[in-house]
Symmetry: C2
Subunit: 200 residues, 2 copies
């Protein structure tokens, strides 16, 4: 593991260059080692800053990763809200939340994030690990399911949500891009609900 450098004199907390340097270093680290393998300490070393300074900008590795691919930092909390409501409405809430984020002013940076993530094989792995560990893990209830069954349901949910988002916002297929959000929620929500419930 690389030696930890001393923070350089004169850096200020609000310094956009420092934040940018950390994000650049994080992008390299996630690309090289995946989301699970990249450590905050190694990212600090590559950015040439003290590890404590990273925590000044980013609460944890999840937040740093979200910033790296320009995703909203509040996403994990939103997904917890999805999971917290009644179980029978989870599919619809999840689709509504995801489409709401993508229909917002974040859309251009989300599209850019998907392009970046899918272009770089190393970053692709990080995105895959992040989606599996953090996003799906936060959004779905686990109850007393076996890990295998929880994974099975999570994979099916991911397959539907990913395709909806990539088809509508990244590929911009007219048959998805031209649809009303509420109609898509009504049509795709039941599929996600079935997957969440373990039905086919």
């Amino acid at each position: 593991m690389a030696a930890q450098r001393e923070p350089k004199i004169g850096r200020r907390p609000g310094n956009q260059d420092t934040r940018g340097q950390i994000i650049t270093a994080a992008r390299h680290a996630f690309a090289a080692k995946g989301f699970a393998g990249a450590s905050m300490r190694a990212i600090a070393a590559e950015a040439g800053v003290d590890a404590a300074l990273i925590h000044h900008y980013f609460e944890n590795k999840q937040q740093l990763f979200l910033a790296t691919i320009a995703l909203p930092l509040g996403l994990p909390r939103m997904l917890e809200t999805v999971a917290a409501g009644d179980r029978s409405g989870l599919g619809e809430r999840l689709v509504r939340t995801v489409l709401g984020v993508w229909d917002s002013e974040l859309q251009p940076s989300l599209v850019a994030a998907v392009r970046t993530a899918l272009t770089d094989p190393g970053l692709t792995r990080s995105v895959g690990e992040f989606l599996t560990l953090e996003v799906i893990g936060h959004a779905l209830p686990h109850d007393d399911l076996s890990a295998e069954e929880a994974d099975r349901r999570a994979g099916l949910v991911a397959s539907q949500i990913l395709g909806l988002v990539i088809g509508r916002y990244v590929l911009r297929l007219p048959v998805l891009a031209n649809r009303q959000t509420d109609d898509l929620i009504a049509e795709v929500g039941p599929t996600v609900q079935r997957y969440v419930d373990g039905r086919t």
Copy 2:
């Protein structure tokens, strides 16, 4: 669909440089004008060859586009077979066919094709148009549906298939990549069938 034409006398069928030149020109044209907007004539002009020579290598624009993004030239025919069988098994057949193609030795070039397609905004548009006009159009029965209803169903089918493929083979989410093909067919097939039938 007509069989690929026989090579003409005197031309060297195996000339990879000419074929490669045409594909490079086609990639530029599709990126600049989309799948619908790029003409075979303009592609020939950019490649510096006679338009007839393109038809020596590629039966039509669809085949040229498939070659451009390294997709199997037989894909449209396979999808016609999907559509030709009994209606009640269409969802499962479509998922089985798509996963079969992706589980084949074509997988690395398909992954590369998706990365390429999603990276270049111009090519992304071509892929979107191609998927909508050619792939979905070939795979789904139209019956006496209104164009709007056919599009609605096609969009939902595309959302599920795209996400399954990108999650399993491109992002390689463990929750999808580690699953058995037959299990995924049994689980995702009914969703696709519901969408094909216009149910939610």
